[in-house]
């Protein structure tokens, strides 16, 4: 390889590294500038920024298992509840295939906690009264269609009943004065239910639908969520069996539910609107309130309305999973004060800085001038790691946790090892009497093999742990894997080209005592000038070949004998 080709190759690789770093900075910078949520400061996990972490474990009947779908649905329900309570930046994730982890920054109030812990409750209640959710100035006028776009009924909608929204509503049978008063003043655009509020199933209740378009007074619970056997979305088929484009939600009741639902529909159907409607509530909010079109005795019902594929599926899921007898118990609830989190982060960073400093001092002690490359590589690795974490916390919602920080600090050692393996190989080549330039090239060829396979093992550990474990272990495995990949990138794109370029400088190639490649200190003598290195008689020629498999292959008999001579020295002195 010609000298200039080496330099060129080295420059090219350094350029790629520059492109990589600038690219990362540009992406994050662009994301920050356009308010896309990016930031140069990585997001911190709860143990570093303080907050509450609640781990919920499902309570299921013996012998049954929670499906992934159920868990996802539960996460969605909990997320709705937490969002509704006004907590921002809460993280709700599944953990493993069993648990749900809710992470809330700051100190949540008791209501929010209760909200998270309580299980979803699906109920069927008859509608007694209904009106527009927000007491609008236009109350009493005719319907504005936009007011109830999601009303599930195929016929009447809440806002279509101007009489119901009049302020002086005549008392309706079964509604006590207090409920009536609450209903009259109810404004669905404002919070009105305490978080985790549980209603008495035997009393009427005033509430709103989930999007606040309509408010209702509902009678006592007639059918419960557990009475629903199944729910699915599908298109309506006509009596001749041809399918139409109308989406609907099909409900199937259990035997018990069938009887209850038949009773309900039996006494509701003859009534006038809105009393011929029944409301399905989830956690006290009305998710749909269809009008009955018949007495339903067969145990199956179909809800039609302004559904499309997605909304019908969403409602079916709510009915299906909202009705599941799955509750959650709090497996752990951990509060971390913000000050403690900050203290931990600061100490972690301090530990990292001290660790890094010690590594730098030691590598200077061991490798002299080469320490520049070590330190430079570590700094480059640190910059890329920081940028990657900032990028991932933006794109993937990664939050840096304390165990992640520990992973990063540990990575200092593993990253530095790549350089050590490389430098020691180069030194070995120098000991064999090669010039520095040649030593760097041949040392690299051998070192990269070792680095690749050992990093492969490290990466395997990270991937397996990430895939198979939960919680903190995962955060740790993630940083371990990330830093292993970055280590590879840095050693190929920075350490090696830097060494190639430095080998061309006089300081290093002349084997200056402080260069770390002092050929005298390394036991090789007879240095006669740059690029011309005469092997001294004292150094057995075959030694160069001995360590190398590649060289071994090409060894002549004489060389092999020489190699064996060298090795027999070790035999005679091995009792050392």
């Amino acid at each position: 390889m010609s000298e200039s080709a080496v330099t060129k190759g080295a420059r090219k690789r350094l350029t790629w590294l520059g492109v990589l770093i600038i690219g990362l900075v540009a992406i994050i910078g662009l994301g920050t500038a356009t308010n896309a949520g990016a930031s140069f400061a990585p997001k911190l996990a709860l143990d570093l920024q303080g907050g509450t972490q609640i781990i919920l474990a499902p309570v299921v009947q013996a012998g049954t298992k929670v499906t992934e779908q159920q868990l996802t649905q539960a996460v969605a329900i909990i997320r709705q509840r937490v969002d509704a309570s006004g907590v921002s930046e809460a993280q709700i994730n599944t953990q493993g295939n069993n648990n749900i982890v809710v992470s809330i920054p700051g100190t949540p109030d008791e209501n929010t906690l209760r909200l998270i812990r309580s299980s979803a409750k699906l109920e069927f209640r008859p509608v007694l009264e209904t009106s527009q959710g927000v007491p609008a100035a236009s109350a009493g006028t005719s319907a504005t269609p936009s007011a109830s776009p999601t009303a599930a009924s195929s016929k009447a909608t809440a806002s279509a009943k101007p009489s119901a929204s009049a302020s002086a509503t005549p008392a309706v049978a079964g509604v006590d004065a207090a409920t009536q008063k609450f209903f009259d003043s109810l404004d669905c655009s404002k919070p009105f239910r305490a978080a985790g509020q549980v209603d008495d199933p035997t009393l009427p209740v005033a509430t709103c639908d989930t999007n606040g378009y309509s408010k209702y007074v509902l009678g006592p619970v007639e059918v419960e969520g557990t009475d629903v056997a199944d729910a699915n979305a599908g298109t309506v088929t006509t009596s001749t069996g041809a399918s139409t484009n109308t989406w609907a939600v099909n409900l199937k009741f259990t035997a018990n539910g069938t009887t209850k639902f038949a009773n309900t529909t039996g006494h509701l159907f003859p009534l006038k609107d809105p009393q011929n409607r029944f409301a399905i509530t989830l956690d006290g909010y009305v998710i749909t309130a269809p009008t009955l079109q018949a007495v339903i005795t067969g145990g199956t019902a179909q809800i039609t309305g302004n559904f499309d594929k997605n909304t019908s599926k969403a409602l079916a899921d709510q009915l299906k999973y909202g009705s599941l007898p799955i509750g959650f118990e709090v497996q752990s609830q951990e509060n971390i004060s913000a000050t403690l989190g900050t203290e931990q982060l600061q100490s972690g960073l301090l530990a990292g800085a001290i660790g890094l400093l010690l590594v730098i001092i030691y590598s200077f002690f061991q490798y002299r001038g080469l320490a520049i490359v070590t330190v430079g590589s570590l700094v480059v690795a640190a910059i890329i790691t920081y940028l990657m974490i900032a990028l991932l916390s933006w794109r993937q919602g990664y939050h840096l946790s304390l165990s992640g920080v520990a992973g990063l600090i540990v990575a200092i050692g593993i990253t530095a090892d790549s350089f050590i393996v490389y430098f020691e190989r180069v030194r070995d080549e120098l000991r064999d009497g090669r010039s520095l330039g040649a030593s760097v090239e041949s040392g690299w060829k051998r070192a990269i093999r070792t680095i690749l396979v050992s990093d492969g093992v490290s990466l395997l550990a990270a991937i397996v742990l990430y895939a198979l474990t939960v919680g903190n272990v995962r955060g740790f495995a993630f940083t371990l894997g990330l830093t292993t990949l970055i280590d590879l990138a840095v050693v190929i794109l920075f350490t090696h080209p830097m060494l190639e370029l430095l080998a061309k400088t006089k300081f290093f190639s002349s084997g200056h005592p402080w260069s770390g490649f002092d050929s005298k200190a390394l036991g090789a003598t007879s240095y006669v000038g740059r690029g011309a290195f005469r092997v001294s008689g004292a150094v057995p020629a075959g030694k160069a070949a001995k360590a190398s498999k590649e060289a071994n292959k090409r060894q002549t008999l004489a060389e092999r004998k020489a190699a064996e001579n060298a090795a027999s020295v070790s035999k005679s002195e091995k009792s050392n």
Partner: protein, 323 residues
């Protein structure tokens, strides 16, 4: 410094050599003794000291206290729940951690208020946590699954790369040695086993194999076609490889241990009990044991597995006949 680099040169040329392979009976004897101790001592001590994540219970952290006296906490807890023996430890420079058995919501609120009063801080600076008994077990169970899968996959990867199952076997043996010893240190000294310690424990397996692979790669190089040699034996070449990578092994373990030691130091002095200290402690023990086991167990064991193979034995007889 110059002496260390002289050592590196001598080790490389073989002018100086430590007999790792030849004295393996001694090393294996030491390892067996250590393993027995690692199993017996924890039993004698009365089992492992599991953290609250495994036992379950309530935990309170009082931040910003002016006095870190633990008796205040014990008295405060006793004033609410007299029948519990709280575990109190200092966290950081101005925080106290109190662990009790599982309390009801009401009781734990009372304890929180009592602690705030006793330490004369706002009740908002007392954080209460509740940890179910099976949480730690869940995490650890999954981690152990991961460990088994990793060992199998890593053994396969090494077998593919090195073209021999015996290297995998030797490496896994050394790995198991490291895990048992580290666990033994925890058990024998009564260090608290927390999920963070489990994480540190898992990292050991990555590090231990990593370290072994680097040395094995040199062994692979040195023993290539050694069966055709009439001067050196398989055993000698393995030993030479260990010696030639010895400087690397020492440098790497020092560089890896330095940051861990600094976490441990910071963790122990500034932070007290917590994630960082627990991870660092497991790693500190693990890195030292891992480096040791590569040199004294993995490589000699590999030699022991292979030197008996017909081709190597034949070659060795030739070498000995000549000598």
């Amino acid at each position: 410094m110059s002496k260390f680099s002289d050592l590196g040169n001598d080790l490389y040329t073989g002018a100086r050599s430590f007999d790792f392979v030849g004295r393996r009976k001694v090393w294996f004897g030491v390892a067996s003794l250590m393993l027995v101790l690692a199993i017996v001592l924890p039993i004698l001590r009365g089992g492992y000291n599991f953290g609250i994540e495994f036992r379950g219970g309530s935990e309170f952290r009082v931040a910003g206290v002016s006095s870190q006296s633990q008796q205040i906490a014990i008295d405060a807890v006793h004033s609410v729940v007299p029948d519990t023996e709280p575990l109190v430890s200092n966290v950081g420079t101005d925080s106290i951690r109190v662990q009790t058995k599982q309390l009801t919501d009401l009781k734990s609120e009372d304890v929180r208020v009592a602690l705030a009063k006793a330490y004369k801080v706002e009740s908002s600076s007392v954080a209460s946590s509740f940890i179910g008994a099976n949480w730690g077990a869940d995490v650890t169970g999954k981690a152990l699954n991961g460990l088994i899968v990793f060992i199998i996959l890593a053994a396969l990867l090494m077998a593919l790369y090195f073209r021999t199952l015996k290297m995998s076997l030797a490496a896994v043996l050394a790995l198991l040695h490291d895990l048992v010893i580290t666990a033994g240190v925890y058990g024998a000294l009564g260090f608290e086993v927390t999920p963070a310690a489990v994480i540190g424990f898992l990292t050991i397996l990555g590090y231990s194999l990593y370290d072994t692979v680097v040395v094995f790669d040199k062994i692979r190089e040195n023993t290539f076609e050694v069966e055709f040699s009439e001067k050196v034996t398989f055993k000698q070449q393995v030993n030479l490889a260990i010696n030639q990578t010895l400087v690397r092994s020492i440098n790497t373990s020092i560089v890896a241990v330095l940051p861990v030691a600094s976490i441990l130091f910071i963790g122990a002095t500034l932070l007290g009990a917590g994630t960082l200290r627990d991870i660092a402690l497991a790693l500190f023990i693990g890195i030292i044991v891992g480096t040791y086991s590569t040199l004294f167990i993995a490589a000699p064991a590999y030699s022991a597995f292979r030197e008996g193979e017909a081709k190597y034995r034949k070659a060795e007889q030739k070498v000995l006949a000549k000598a």
